[in-house]
Amino acid sequence: MNINFTLISQAMAFAIFIWFTVRFVWPPLMRAIETRQKTIADGLAAGERGKRELELASQRSADVVRDAKQRASDIIAQAEKRAAQIVDEAKGAAEDEGARILAGKKAEVEQEVFRAREALRQQVADLALAGASKILRREVDAKTHADLLASIKAEL
């Protein structure tokens, strides 16, 4: 154990090595490590954000799908209602039309009957008048008894 100049030389070497590490080794390595830590932290945060956004988006898409389904079923229900309404209206219109046609025809028939009856009445009156005139040719003057004949005709 003999202390000598080696001590001083070693101390100088030590100082140089410390200077080298303080100056050239530690700061750049720490910078690299810290930059990487920041990158990793940012990446993790971005991943977290992406996950949350995906959750939100899927929630939103589910909402949209549910809405669309709701609307579709609404539209279908409305359409069915409208269809039933149209059928009902058509049915009503057809019934009305039928009734109207029927009424028209009935009126026509009645008119025909009336007209036939009038014609018949005329004919019967004519016949009766002819028969009566034939019988009463001699004693009855058509002119003088015209109002009587007309009243008979009207009774028929």
Binding site: M1, N2, I3, N4, F5, T6, L7, I8, S9, Q10, A11, A13, F14, A15, F17, I18, F20, T21, V22, F24, V25, W26, P27, P28, L29, M30, R31, A32, I33, T35, R36, T39
Partner: protein, 268 residues
Amino acid sequence: MASGTEVTPTSYMSHHLTNLTSSIGDGAFWTLHVDTLVMALLTGIVSFGFLGWVVRGATSAVPGKRQAFVELAVEFIDEQVKSAFHGDRHAFVAPAALTVFIWVFMMNAMDFLPVDIMAWIYERLGLHNWRSVPTADVNTTFALALSVWLLMIFFNIKVKGLGGWIHELVCSPFGKNPLLWPVNILFNLVEYVSKPLSHSLRLYGNIYAGEIIFLLLGMWAATGLSGTVFGTLLGAGWAIFHILIVTLQAFIFMMLTVVYLSMAHESH
């Protein structure tokens, strides 16, 4: 092991424990342990050169295996410093701790080199006396401990001011009362003397003792068949155990450095 002469245990031990010296002036102090200095510089240049090389190509993207290894060591040191030192550790204390740990670890690790094979190689290189382990030389450990000690005083003055430091020397730990001043000063003196001593001698003692045991086992291995068998087995066992000691001592030395520097930053 000079060829031709009888090898005795004494000559074997002293051969392995003698430094290659070079005189640079008059007096016992002005000698240089060339082997200690060269091995220390070599380990330092290799390890810090490696660190510098890796850091120069360091990327903040996905690191390669080499960079990941360096980062592992650096972050380990950083964690330790963070737990012991509360301040801006990145400015000086943490990189200094990294330097201490890596360098002391590498110098301790020279203990793994097989003593006699290395001696044979050094002999071929024309180096008769050459000790591989710089930390088994008390000059190295004292150099490190005294540097830390000076840094400690430097930070004491830098943080608290010269007056603050002297006030602390006089009034801490027992109190401000003038009657207690001599006790405080004596106490602090003992502390300031014992810190570098325990700091350096712990490392030196452990590594030196480890080297001695390797030498003893090497000597035993030369005594016959059973000596060879047991010397080999125990040598292997001691080398494995030594991995722990080498790392642990480097770690302790680094932690003490951090703690001393941290104490220098705190006021009492």
